[in-house]
Symmetry: D2
Subunit: 391 residues, 4 copies
Amino acid sequence: MRYAPTDSPVFTLTTGPVDAYPAVLRGLAAPVLYDYDPAFQATYQRVCEKLQPIVKSETVPLLLQGEPILGLEAAAASAIGKDDVVLNLVSGVYAKGFEGWAARNGAKVLELAVPYDEVIDPADVAAMLKQHPEVTVVAACHHDTPSGTINPVGEIGAIVQAHGALFLVDAVSSFGGMAIDAASANADFFITGPNKCLGCPPALSILGLSRKAWAKMKATAEAPRASILSILDWEDAWKSSEPFPFTPSVAEINGLEAAIDLYVSEGPENVWARHALTAKACRAGMQAMGLALWPKSEGFASPTATAVRTPDGIDEAALRAEVRARYGVVLSSGRGETLGRLTRIGHMGPTAQPLYALVAVAAYGGALTALGHSVDIGTGTAAVLAAIDAS
Amino acid sequence: MRYAPTDSPVFTLTTGPVDAYPAVLRGLAAPVLYDYDPAFQATYQRVCEKLQPIVKSETVPLLLQGEPILGLEAAAASAIGKDDVVLNLVSGVYAKGFEGWAARNGAKVLELAVPYDEVIDPADVAAMLKQHPEVTVVAACHHDTPSGTINPVGEIGAIVQAHGALFLVDAVSSFGGMAIDAASANADFFITGPNKCLGCPPALSILGLSRKAWAKMKATAEAPRASILSILDWEDAWKSSEPFPFTPSVAEINGLEAAIDLYVSEGPENVWARHALTAKACRAGMQAMGLALWPKSEGFASPTATAVRTPDGIDEAALRAEVRARYGVVLSSGRGETLGRLTRIGHMGPTAQPLYALVAVAAYGGALTALGHSVDIGTGTAAVLAAIDAS
Amino acid sequence: MRYAPTDSPVFTLTTGPVDAYPAVLRGLAAPVLYDYDPAFQATYQRVCEKLQPIVKSETVPLLLQGEPILGLEAAAASAIGKDDVVLNLVSGVYAKGFEGWAARNGAKVLELAVPYDEVIDPADVAAMLKQHPEVTVVAACHHDTPSGTINPVGEIGAIVQAHGALFLVDAVSSFGGMAIDAASANADFFITGPNKCLGCPPALSILGLSRKAWAKMKATAEAPRASILSILDWEDAWKSSEPFPFTPSVAEINGLEAAIDLYVSEGPENVWARHALTAKACRAGMQAMGLALWPKSEGFASPTATAVRTPDGIDEAALRAEVRARYGVVLSSGRGETLGRLTRIGHMGPTAQPLYALVAVAAYGGALTALGHSVDIGTGTAAVLAAIDAS
Amino acid sequence: MRYAPTDSPVFTLTTGPVDAYPAVLRGLAAPVLYDYDPAFQATYQRVCEKLQPIVKSETVPLLLQGEPILGLEAAAASAIGKDDVVLNLVSGVYAKGFEGWAARNGAKVLELAVPYDEVIDPADVAAMLKQHPEVTVVAACHHDTPSGTINPVGEIGAIVQAHGALFLVDAVSSFGGMAIDAASANADFFITGPNKCLGCPPALSILGLSRKAWAKMKATAEAPRASILSILDWEDAWKSSEPFPFTPSVAEINGLEAAIDLYVSEGPENVWARHALTAKACRAGMQAMGLALWPKSEGFASPTATAVRTPDGIDEAALRAEVRARYGVVLSSGRGETLGRLTRIGHMGPTAQPLYALVAVAAYGGALTALGHSVDIGTGTAAVLAAIDAS
């Protein structure tokens, strides 16, 4: 029995989009209200206000009407002017990708880079900033998803704040799945979205902004206005009494409210615990089958995605295709520099349940074996169970 | 009995967002697939291909991941370079608003304007182009929603094409509700979305592009790349074999497919007929109550929205608030120059059913009377019925 | 423009099934849990317990897994034995229909009947019971839907209780739409369902039972066991610790919970008020068009359905067909003896909003006129508005 | 990490209710039409007619408005009169349970019984019928779910037909998951439902009836009329031109249509193949862990449910509770005589995907080990994979 490429998959264990929680899907199906209807304006304000205690930003979180790549591009466009000097901390493909946006208004961009299977050392950031007192903005990617690694943004943020620069953090694929928020990251721009660990579809950005971030944007001449890239246009839009710059994505806002309610009702700590355990079990299973994690140290492996190095001689795309055809399981590839070198298993939102690690390990192992790289699936799955049972 | 502002409305008869068709709401609730899953990539291609026969564009319609204001801004950014000369045809607030985008890359912008209760005369366009052979791009708004007026874009487009300029048409709030498409508009950029007459929530743009449009964007140095504003990045994304520049709005794509299927299954001509009849009945009812339409001539009043002049001495915002509080009906205000001067009743998608005109006329008339401007509701509603019965 | 019989209707203004509230439809789409899963058993108990304060029964309300006709048949089968003498109070088709079930186990059935456009006089019940001290069970229909009339069950119930008989009340199409419950009806069997004024689809019965009712069923030898008709089998099934006699209708239970939550959150008094006003406005409009209500006195016309006498010479079925074809509005016919003699407009759950009366009056009037019985629609609709505005 | 009893389960791998297919859940959320609306009557007819080619009954399949236990009780009540002699073939709890219904109208009931881990031998039926020429009705349970065993109803049916008796088959939990239908079972009453292998929630019965079945019911004086137990009342209800005896479960009908469309579009053979493979993989895994199946021979183990004998000394209820608490997996117990002696894993509808066998085997093995009966999970899971890979 083989699954055809257009057959519905049985398990989507990707790094996002992941399937949405059932309650989120039902939220998406709620009646679509007129954006200026007071009932919808009240909903919009309520959703933004519900986000604040979980995002822990100084100001009410701001929504942009596009998946988080919009939040990242808009933040760069709004916060970084031609006179800024940006220090871009690069430990992976996504951080590297930020460089182009950082430079869009003409700013100078410095880089502190490490190999993509390592993470940034806060001491290096401190040293770099000492050497470059002119740096005004530091950008970091908390979870560089294509590597499955977690950078110590809290420590880095403290250094950045002491330096007096603006700290911009991409927390798209970690927020909601582990203990990270604008406050603990010491971030001025905490950019994330509901489409990873909160279990929504992709279509919105969430920005947790400090007062310093707002001041900087207002002082940045290049900050977009009357554009989908504008953050400033949306400053007061969360208030039910104020207009929207343009029509918000009503259905997605409804879905987001369902996701927040679920998250708060389950309890963030509980949500994080199941993400962590799923990742731990997944790593245990993969390693028990003799496979290597991509991150050099398990200490900084993400609790929301497990990146497994592709064994030599294996075509990674063919491997994922086999996983899907044979078992109906969808996994994620690497991106850019990591493409072809690793496979990623997402542990995000509804799929952050320990037994999904079992599914992933068995399917990955089975397909690998089918492609000629034999692994002992029994050992792998037993290790998954042992990790779960030890919790 | 009064409806509180946060009570759910009973009827949303706005110019968009309107409520989505039930089948679209269910489409939004479909499982969220990974964007690179072949099953989703096949869906994405299928949706784009299903759009072509209804958009009637030379190339496969392109989706952008934001409501149509993104489509408009992106088209301007991609197609209009600093050396272009744009003729902006202004008969309303939305057309006027395009000016800023037209000029963003430094192009010169000429304007042909008429009062906002009139429409553009093709002969004036011809004269203007004769006078300005340097014009390279002409922009028009088919249905300038804040006025409820329909411009003769087909005739204008023929003139523009003969002139050799690029024709860019905003058909956001008319497409799907009347006989308009990229071919009949002679448009190179036919910019619309599913969130008006197709009955979807706001979150996507649909662009019907000519081969000339593609050539122009490729020749425009300023055309965005690696940006949410990029159209070029998405050129091949509709093909199931090609990557997406960034994650598409999966749930909204699912909803859109349901909308297209409904539209095709009902038959576009039948859909248009109920839009036209609803508008006609609405106009008849309003006029029978002694009220004036905003458009100077009923001949160019939109079949997808009826704009009614606010009687002297009436506070339009208070009037809409009364309509909602008293009857649970939500209507739209004017925008910009028309704000406070007219009220709009949308006839779009699921609300383009003749009997909704009855609801709108009675609720509007009842609230007007309550605010001191007495109208004869019986005469108004009888006129609505008579219009329906005459069809 | 005509709606084909298989086109989706625009307005379903029937006496049930009515369309469900959007939140109920989303509730139906919740994941289906195993009935013995503790999470579902907890849901089932919670739903039953949430019903008690609104049904106001002595014991926790009981759900049967079929639309309320099951509740009625099961109550008769369980409570009435061959030695019972039943007084059946007949003011309409539904009450008359109960006779067969009352007699199923061999009981003697007496009848107190009035014409179907009148209601039962409590004094007549008192007299009848005095004359027939042997009566052990009295059955009444609160809202005999095919007549649109409301019987004074509270007063009747007090008389029945004083007599010492069991009082069985069919409150299927009134509960949730007006002030009626097991306590105020003095009912031992208060039989209703969620598919009328609570705005659910048809599939469940709700029984509010007194302790006396339970005692009587246990003493009735004929009471079904191991049957879908058994009430006794379900006695403890609401407790999360107890088994179900057979699988409950999981999805419908989920929908019901959403309906209860809506009802409680809106506030029963508010819900009743909009039912009452919708009915009042509907009656006003119909009468203003010179039409007669079916109930002899407006004093006992139902707030949840308006029955309009069909004018002489009009084919009632053709009239409803015309209402649907011309306007997309679905209305209900009479049943049995009232079939062909009246048309019913439901005001139930989501359609109990005053402006729906406008839709009904106009559509009914328009179709009537089209069939040759001219009425003044303007006068009708103005009367609807006047009734709403006077509230 | 432990799942609380009221936490949502992660996997519902029961013998029904199982979770519905996503498309079915969305079908349940479709607008609720009035049952007498011609659009709904057309839907009802279409659903019944779509069932015929898959149920393969002589007459258009009939729907009853309650889960299949209603179908079974109604069939017994309608087809078996006091003068009938019934041969009840008993290989499990459900078949035994039919005895009470078979006898309800006073018929004589003979029994051919085997131990509950065996199945009926057609030769024994032939012998019994030879010995008892007076038998007029034979009843069999195709898949006696509490045992997970499949009876050879096709062969038995041929013998019954040759004898001239009526053959009544309970195919509730096998239909849709394997090659079984009214024709191949030689059944006069083929009683099933959409809530097992078709992936709907429980709330409807499907009856495939032969012309002989209809004749017998019409000749049976005791056959219920004007009752929820009546089949005869529904004879013509499938026709869009005919009335319903009472209101059908509109939402469930909508869900059923979605299920049928899925089933036909996937292809019944493909659906059966994944049921069979899931069961085979599950059996392989369980046996590899040294556990015994409940069925004496794997040859008659069901492809839609795997029954595993509970190892000596293990409390089966505690075992299932541990499976749920530890892994979030819900399994089914035995029933009646098999309660406490086996655990059942369902392979039905959406859960009939081979990798679910992996989940079940690991979770069952893990919990068993936790309770002190150590098994080798690695060996079990490897056997599951091997079975899948061999397919």
